[in-house]
């Protein structure tokens, strides 16, 4: 238990009577890279939404480093050390790559702090380092709106890196990427997963196999199976869900 960073117990939420997540239990260890898979509508994105505070659960607890996240608002959860990347890349189109990263710098987040903010050398260095990591070092002055889809995905990951979260929630980070970009992203994930925990949703099994430590399969809002990629793939229930449907 000592190295558990996130413990989800009895998590439930329903939309207009439909239970998107139903009495779900999940635990993530420190430094773990967990991949969550499951058919459409299994509740994957909703799970991440609830962890990061976007959706409030109807019941259950989400414990992160001894704090119950269900009681905090989004920005408090972020400040506690949880970072979230969305399914469709969500970056600030009207701002440059540099500004996008700078906004994500985890200090001066109060009104007056940001009003009198000056970019110090230290911050500049950090921005450049992150830009390097996400392959955008040459695009710092480009407006985010005109980046390619894959570059936007990277930029959003970069924004999380600026926050230096202990737990990263990534929703389909390689969707819409070319094969080469996927490889680069796999490298990127391998690099950044050092020293932090990652929960990642992905459909691309090739990609999952490449990066996952452990895999959780969701189905109809519940955990169907959990274990290594190989274990999971042999699980009869998983095969039924994926092939039988």
């Amino acid at each position: 238990m000592a190295d558990t960073i996130l413990a989800v117990t009895g998590l439930t939420v329903s939309f207009d009577g439909f239970k998107a997540v139903d009495d779900l239990n999940l635990s993530i260890d420190k430094d773990e890279l967990r991949v969550v898979i499951g058919p459409n509508g299994a509740g994957k994105t909703t799970l991440l939404d609830m962890i990061c505070g976007k959706t409030k659960p109807s019941a259950g607890r989400i414990e992160f480093k001894n704090a119950d996240l269900t009681k905090l608002s989004e920005y408090e959860i972020t400040r506690a050390g949880v970072g979230r990347k969305f399914q469709t890349p969500s970056v600030y189109d009207d701002l440059t790559v540099l500004e996008n990263l700078e906004i994500s710098y985890p200090k001066h987040r109060g009104v007056f702090g940001s009003l009198f903010f000056r970019r110090t050398r230290e911050i500049g260095d950090k921005i450049r380092a992150v830009a390097q990591d996400i392959y955008l070092q040459d695009e710092l002055e480009t407006k985010a709106g005109i980046l390619s889809h894959g570059q936007k995905q990277w930029l959003e990951i970069g924004m999380l890196l600026m926050q230096d979260p202990e737990l990263m929630l990534l929703d389909e980070p390689v969707a819409g990427m070319s094969a080469r970009e996927r490889d680069l992203t796999a490298d990127l994930l391998a690099r950044i997963s050092k020293g932090r925990s990652i929960v990642l949703i992905e459909h691309d099994m090739e990609f999952v196999r490449k990066i996952a430590h452990r895999v959780t399969v969701l189905h109809q809002g519940k955990v169907l199976s959990e274990g290594s990629m190989d274990q999971v793939q042999k699980d009869a229930r998983v095969i039924e869900v994926y092939l039988g449907m």
Partner: protein, 300 residues
Amino acid sequence: MSFDIAVMQIFNGISLFTILVLMALGLAIVFGLMGVINMAHGELMALGAYVTYMVAHVFERHLPSLMGVYLFFAIIMAFLVTFAFGWILERGFIRFLYKRPLDTMLATWGLSLVLQQAYRSIFGAQEVSVPMTKWLTGAWDMTEGIQIPLNRLFIVGLTILVSLGVYYLLFKTRWGLRIRAVTQNRAMSGAAGINTNRVDAMTFALGSGLAGIAGAVFTMIGSTNPLTGQLYIVDSFIVVVFGGVASLLGTFVSGFAIAQAQTTLEFLLSGSMAKVAILLMVIVVLYFRPNGLFAARVRQ
């Protein structure tokens, strides 16, 4: 408060409810289904009122024997004229603004100024008097002390009719299906072979036409002048938003709530204070239900 007065107050509440619904229904359709905030909705109502005025004059001059039923023709004409006008407006400039809903509000506000001046130039700044339909004046004497005004009764009936009509149109016909399809997923509907431009124009025109009906009917209880529309727009707007823009049912419920609150408070307090109380009630409710009374909880 005696029993008689209580009965009449209850009727007043119902009557105001139907008036608000009639006022707001067109706006709710245009706003809720298309996201267009039409600040000229009131002026479209005024257009309906002026059409009624003209129809009344034509009947007075040429068909005096049919004056008793002119209102029915006027209502139909008001609907047709505002429907056509709405179509023109939609094609003329509303359609350029679909991606900027808040801008529709500003542009249509400019339109409302232009229309006000148009009415003033054509009909004069003074009120025009629309003749009353004889059999609708006066009251139905339920008992010695209870009088129910006939024209209000008429409005109640008409609102029920119009509401059923709108319900049928939107939920039971192919056309309604198309409208709902387009509002839910424009691209998909286009791909499915629906002429989205046409549906947009039809929807806006329908909303406008309903404003025309409301305008025609309100000549019985209110005044008709170039600024008539201004009196109604804010109330309509509040009814729609209070109910939740995505929901026509919400419009009905909020109309009912506001009407009951208003008639009760007006009886107990002064007119001004009643108004203040209602506006504050709307603010407080919006605070607790930020998307209006009827907003479904959905996964984004």
